[in-house]
Symmetry: C2
Subunit: 331 residues, 2 copies
DNA sequence: GGGGACACGACAATCGTTTGCCATCAATTG
DNA sequence: CAATTGATGGCAAACGATTGTCGTGTCCCC
């Protein structure tokens, strides 16, 4: 059982008694050609089980039919929804999607992007670690869309967590908390900056003291240090940069026998997988991650359809809301 | 700022004063050519920031440098480790990897595979839903490696959960449990069959009654029904098909006020993200998922290197062990 | 009935590589 | 010193599609 030579456009053409070019057009140019011929060709193509060689298509047409989604860590559940969303949408658009793990490294991110730029129609950067300059330069080489990162001139989708933060503060204040601390993520994180900023604003509005502890790394393991820092701060409630960190923090609090929410209320961000079944279930900011993924692909498609378009900045802002569970309670 | 024509192999050749073929060889055939020339060409390529067009390479050489990893659901944390492992290994081997979500559908899985077979060097099927026949047929069209699925003639990596199941039963028996029920996943799942089989064997060894409830769907939401069924069965301990289901079950038990492990001990399988911080932390079977991913890519590479090789069946069996947490206790 | 327009489909160039084959030249050997 | 060998690098033919250009046939309208 030797591998049979795969059927090419020429085989189809020969079988149909037409030129390859006719087959090509019958298959991909809806407006062109005789409907009868087209149907005949399509039938033959189907019968022969013809699948166009995408490499050849790409080489010839310049379009690869592939986009990339870059995430800093594939195993961070935060990306679940986004991945799902982009996959849905790109499948619907007939695009292939490669998932690239940048391992939190700006250099790796840039290298991968540069290396693959020829084999991609575009890329979506979920939480890019690249500098603004680097991003703008890369955008000149390959169409880019960012998620949760705002850069002049680049289409972007941002899940408006600042808005949610305000809701969280509102919630905590209504429960009687007057001393709320923000548990900061990495300084370089765009989302972290945005959230911290929103915290300050919300706190100011209520005339509260605002402080922060950190910065801490993104992972769950940083939760230990974070928990201790929060406890030292004497605050009665905290808003944590993201759920991963918040869950780590919860674990440590349990270890130290600190009652949540009795002694300390905890609010997370992102509503990741696990936020609903950790102990206690986490009050957190939920956002439409899948929708964000879909929107990002749409934006990219827009940019692709008309390559000479002025790359008009288009930004999609998605709302978040507070999901109250059991990690928050009266002061 | 118009997009500059990307630099091709011809540009490099012209600059170096040699033929394109020489450049090609200097760049990719280590044994061939004058070392001095090679270095000169490499230097020029680097200087010009030359990146080979992978489409053209693929078209010409027949190798695409891309493999696919098919999973039934990208957002199932079970695949975390596997994804990480395959990505690591394929990056190391200079391969691109596409992640494909088959949405639990055999048809979709087959279609995707057929459709992409021309643009892939091979594929790794993590928990394939395809029939044995379909798998064997597809393997004739594109090199395949399976994970957690044993099919005659296909290289495979399996995480030996049956072995872990034996450990789990041992653990429960030593805690005094005499009535253990298996909470079954989908009938069509290969892993489920393997686990159920192992359960029966282990139970027989200890002269225990063995029963099962189910089958239940894979998701967390099925946990509700599963919990009720287990309670009805009167068993004092249960081994659950996977952690997702087990976590769902735990949630329901908490709702019903059933003490775990006081009234019921629960053992899961897979040790997914979340198993350590759910409530109570889950005793479960841990396996080297990352390693499985790496092994799968290795197997695939082996199959790729020598396409005319007799496709010798090679199987990698990876051990599991029981990770005891707090969801199991004395009967 | 003749001319023009238009639709159809063929031809052939092109995309950027790889790779089999061959000419050339230097080095080694008898 | 001649002949064999081996290394080197150039030529050109693929790989399988897309797409601009152009001849041919059909139809319509005046």
């Amino acid at each position: 059982m030797t591998a049979p030579r795969p059927v090419t456009i020429n085989d189809v053409a020969a079988r149909a008694g037409v030129a390859p070019s006719t087959v090509s057009r019958a298959l991909s140019e809806p407006g062109r050609g005789n409907p009868a011929t087209r149907e005949r060709i399509r039938a033959i193509a189907r019968e022969l089980n013809y699948v166009p060689n995408s490499q050849a298509q790409a080489l010839s047409s310049g379009r690869t039919g592939t986009i990339a989604l870059l995430v800093s860590d594939v195993t961070n559940p935060f990306y679940f929804g986004i991945i799902r969303g982009t996959q849905q949408m790109s499948k619907a658009a007939g695009l292939a999607e490669v998932l690239i793990d940048t391992e939190d490294s700006p250099d790796l991110e840039g290298d991968m992007l540069r290396k693959m730029r020829r084999s991609l129609d575009g890329a979506i950067l979920a939480s890019s670690r690249l500098s603004e300059r680097a991003l703008i330069r890369l955008a000149g080489e390959i169409p880019l869309v960012t998620i949760n990162r705002n850069v002049r001139g680049l289409p972007s989708v941002v899940i408006d967590s600042p808005d949610g933060i305000a809701q969280a503060v509102e919630h905590l204040v209504s429960l009687g908390h007057r001393d709320i601390v923000y548990v900061s993520g990495p300084e370089t994180s765009w989302s972290n900056q945005a959230r911290w900023h929103a915290m300050r604003k919300a706190a100011a509005k209520h005339g509260l003291e605002f402080r922060r502890v950190g910065p801490f790394a993104r992972g769950r393991s940083s939760g230990t240090a974070a928990a201790d820092a929060v406890l030292n701060s004497g605050a009665t409630a905290c808003v944590v940069f993201n759920d991963l960190l918040a869950i780590g923090l919860l674990t440590r609090l349990a270890e130290r026998g600190v009652a949540v929410p009795g002694r300390l209320s905890v609010v997370g961000c992102d509503d990741i997988f696990g936020a609903d079944f950790c102990h206690p279930p986490l009050t957190t900011l939920s956002g439409p991650a899948e929708q964000a993924g879909r929107a990002a692909v749409s934006l990219l498609l827009g940019r692709l359809g008309d390559p000479r378009a002025p790359a008009a900045r288009r930004a999609v802002l998605l709302p978040t809301h507070l999901t109250v569970r059991e990690s928050t309670g009266p002061a």
